[in-house]
């Protein structure tokens, strides 16, 4: 099978993300990349745990003063749902239904964007209400480094998916772009998994003290 071959619903392979050698390489290479990313985030989690609530003076706010459940819960739901919608998109990709894939990717992007807006609001809230900033304390540095790094990944993922959607909007699916969509969705799931850990380690553990 070649990358520039034309397909119909009947001839489209079962695993288009791994149908050519280039695609197989991309698929495996991206998993390795996510392995490296895991260590990257693990390092940031370790830094956060070491520096949690480490502030220079008693006036600084600690984790238990900052976080509020409703906002963080909403953010979590948005991102978890966006992971589900990206699964739907990949389902339609495997069934050679380009329009529906684009639709579900679009919904994924909107949910991700909503998450990002709430995160901006959240950071803004901490900075203005609690004077909890990147430079105010070691706790602040570690918090914004970890959560902000994740937010940066979300922003990059959104740009990536939008770029793929726009680039391929007129030409439909092929074995050349199917692996591209697939690894972008893998990336999106990874971001979601990292958030589950952030929700647990930063927010839940932060609120119980």
């Amino acid at each position: 099978m070649h990358a520039d071959e034309k397909f119909t619903y009947e001839t489209w392979p079962a695993a288009p993300e791994r149908a050519t050698l280039e695609a197989k390489n991309k698929f495996l290479g991206f998993w390795f990349f996510l392995g490296g990313e895991t260590v990257l985030f693990a390092s940031l989690f370790a830094t956060y745990l070491a520096l949690k609530d480490k502030v220079p003076t008693a006036e600084h706010h600690l984790a238990k003063d900052l976080f509020e459940m409703p906002l963080v819960f909403l953010m979590t739901m948005l991102l978890l749902t966006s992971s589900l919608t990206s699964v739907y998109a990949m389902y339609h990709m495997k069934n050679f239904d380009f329009k529906k894939m684009q639709l579900w990717l679009g919904i994924t992007v909107l949910l991700g964007l909503a998450f990002l807006c709430l995160e901006v609001y959240e950071f803004n809230h901490y900075v203005h209400e609690f004077h909890h900033t990147f430079t105010s304390s070691a706790f602040g540095s570690a918090f914004y480094a970890l959560v902000g790094f994740h937010g940066g990944h979300v922003a990059f993922g959104l740009l990536w998916i939008v770029a793929l959607m726009v680039r391929n909007s007129k030409r439909g699916l092929s074995l050349y772009n199917a692996p591209k969509f697939y690894v972008a969705s893998l990336y999106w799931h990874f971001i979601d998994v990292v958030w589950v850990f952030i929700f647990t380690v930063v927010y839940l553990m932060g609120m119980v003290g």
Binding site: G29, G36, V39, S43, T47, W160
Partner: protein, 622 residues
């Protein structure tokens, strides 16, 4: 070759190297750039030894000495040893597994240019207000107190080149898993390929902690964060942990490929199958695994407590077991073989006692209680130079002589090679053996001078004389390289006559598509097997067909250039108004060129069957 081997002008050759995605050309780029930085780092080493030749010397000032010492270590590890290792991995590994290229040729090029721009950025510090001066480990308390931009150059330069290394690691992993020729099972892979495989996995998991450590340092120094500042609640030990969680696997990232090169050389020039192949594979994997369990032995005196120290001491000593397995296997490979004493083989034989000496002092240093005495003395300096020079540099020099004909199509002169070997061996032991005793007598490392009448004079003078031997040896090697390149006497597929693995079945240098037809691999030492059955080359595993090749690309250069520009912006942001715009502009260059790469289809091209048949008909031997 008919349509492809046209004579090109100098401009076309340079453009070709700037845009190449061919693993063999990228290997040459790595070799040249790594060789250049090796000479820079070597000059820095000479300045260190000249300054320490006599007591109370003032060849350089204390401040400049700190910069030279820092840059010597940083340059040698990150900008000389790493790229030279990558040069051989790129040149040899795809050939050894019977592949036409690596899995991601574009990323291969990107990895090189990231390393190159990172290295250039780091070394520009010499001309822009002073080099980093907190040691190659750059411990946070020292780094945060360091004035000027030296440490910023260190942080940003290593960040850029580290990204390149990570990309290279992923690339090699996928190449080895997905692109082996028919019949090339894992347990038929040559040992150098195995060590490339394990090392790539180490890179994948060891470089991200360094990336984070460098990010935190960058945030602290350039963006007002407080990770390491204890007055703001920070903790300086976090840097030590990240640095060594990276730093210890890093030394295995350097030594395992050298082990791989030696394994090939011992088998080739003993003209015997490598003894205990499967135990060699097992030992390589085990060393890679244990390499992640021992980082805190660099921090015995930090104060982690007796339990942590004891655990890390035992784990460290355990590494001596798989390493010992390897040493015995190499000895048994030579046992009963009909040994040819070529230059690479001389390096390999000299490596065994040198490296064992470094390993023995390693076990001494691993006992935490005793380490309180050795810590930060010349004993440590002697130890790590015995393993890194006696192991890695010997391996790289052996590899240079061994693989030179495969990379360039001409043999280095054996007579000059042996002269430089003997000079290097004598110089190496002269320089570093005495440092064990200087250390045990109490000479601390990283001092810029010492006083007379403390018993350090003779030892330091001997050490400096040894360093000159090594310098002369490198000059002889350079003369050798220039002479053989000018003469350029072409050699055939298997210039050593005893090649065992697939790369020796190909012309030297191989055509850009490597294998016209992918070879059928029937066992370990695939080419040797065929030769023993009286065949001239490999049996093809496929009919002659079109070959798919990747297009050259200038984008990797531009992506790396963007980060290079952005790094200047990040560094001068606080004091110059142009800093922030330059930072943003640089990042935009990088991100936009990534976007271009993403949206512009790149299907590569095909070499047609007819053009390949052409070669055979005319009887061209490339």
């Amino acid at each position: 070759m008919s349509t492809y081997a046209q004579k090109k002008g100098a401009g076309a050759v340079i453009w070709d190297f700037l845009t190449t995605v061919d693993h063999k050309k990228i290997a040459i780029l790595y070799l040249i750039a790594g060789g250049f930085f090796f000479i820079v780092g070597g000059l820095e080493a000479m300045f260190i030894r000249i300054q320490l030749a006599i007591p109370d010397n003032n060849f350089v000032s204390a401040g400049v000495y700190n910069e030279i010492l820092t840059m010597h270590g940083t340059t040698m590890i990150f900008l000389a040893a790493m790229p030279l290792v990558f040069a051989f991995m790129n040149a040899v590994m795809p050939l050894q597994i019977g592949a036409r290229d690596v899995a991601f040729p574009f990323l291969n090029s990107l990895g090189f240019w990231l390393f190159f721009f990172g290295g250039v950025f780091l070394n520009l510090s010499w001309f822009l207000g002073g080099a980093p001066d907190a040691g190659w480990t750059s411990y946070a308390s020292l780094s945060l107190a360091s004035e000027g931009h030296g440490i910023d150059f260190y942080v940003l330069g290593l960040q850029i080149s580290g990204a390149g290394t990570l990309i290279g690691g992923i690339n090699f992993l996928v190449t080895i898993i997905n692109m082996r020729a028919p019949g090339m099972t894992y347990m038929r892979m040559p040992l150098f390929t195995w060590s490339t495989f394990v090392v790539s996995a180490l890179i994948l998991f060891a470089f991200p902690p360094l990336t984070i450590g460098l990010f935190l340092m960058m945030f602290d120094r350039m963006f007002g964060a407080n990770f390491f500042d204890h007055t703001m609640g920070g903790n300086t030990v976090i840097w030590e942990h990240f640095f060594w969680i990276f730093g210890h696997p890093e030394v295995y990232i350097l030594i395992l490929p050298a082990f791989g090169i030696f394994s090939e050389i011992f088998a080739t020039f003993s003209r015997k199958r490598l003894f205990g192949y499967s135990s060699m594979v097992f030992a390589t994997v085990l060393i890679g695994f244990l390499g992640f369990m021992v980082w805190a032995h660099h921090m015995f005196t930090t104060g982690l407590g007796p339990i942590a120290n004891a655990i890390f001491a035992v784990a460290t000593m355990a590494i001596a077991v798989p390493t010992g397995i390897k040493i015995f296997n190499w000895l048994f490979t030579m046992w009963g073989g009909s040994i040819k004493f070529t230059t690479p083989m001389l390096y390999a034989i000299a490596f065994i006692p040198s490296f064992v000496a470094g390993g023995v002092t390693g076990v001494m240093l691993a006992s935490a209680a005793a380490d309180y005495q050795y810590h930060d003395t010349y004993f440590v300096v002697a130890h790590f130079h015995y393993v890194i020079v006696g192991g890695v540099v010997f391996g790289l020099l052996a590899g240079t002589h061994f693989y030179w004909p495969k990379m360039f199509g001409t043999m280095l002169n054996e007579f000059l090679g042996k002269i430089s070997f003997w000079l290097f061996l004598i110089g190496f032991h002269l320089t570093f053996f005495i440092q064990h005793f200087l250390g045990l007598m109490g000479m601390p490392r990283r001092i810029f001078t010492f006083l007379p009448d403390q018993g350090f004079e003779t030892g330091n003078l001997i050490s400096t004389i040894g360093a000159f031997f090594m310098a002369i040896s490198v000059i002889v090697l350079l003369i050798n390289i220039i002479m053989t390149s000018v003469k350029n006497e072409k050699v055939g597929n298997d210039p050593w006559g005893d090649g065992r693995t697939l790369e020796w079945a190909l012309p030297s240098p191989p055509p850009f598509y490597n294998f016209k037809q992918l070879p059928l691999v029937r066992g370990l030492d695939a080419y040797w097997l065929e030769k023993m059955e009286g065949k001239k080359g490999m049996t093809p595993a496929e009919p002659l067909g079109d070959i798919h090749m990747p297009n050259n690309s200038f984008i990797p250069f531009v992506i790396s250039l963007g980060l290079f520009i952005a790094a200047f912006g990040a560094m001068y942001r606080a004091e110059h108004s142009w800093g922030l715009p330059v930072l943003i502009a640089g990042m935009l260059v990088t991100l936009l060129s990534m976007l271009v790469r993403s949206v512009k289809d790149d299907h590569g091209y095909h070499i047609h069957k007819e053009d390949l048949i052409d070669d055979n008909d005319k009887g061209v031997k490339a």
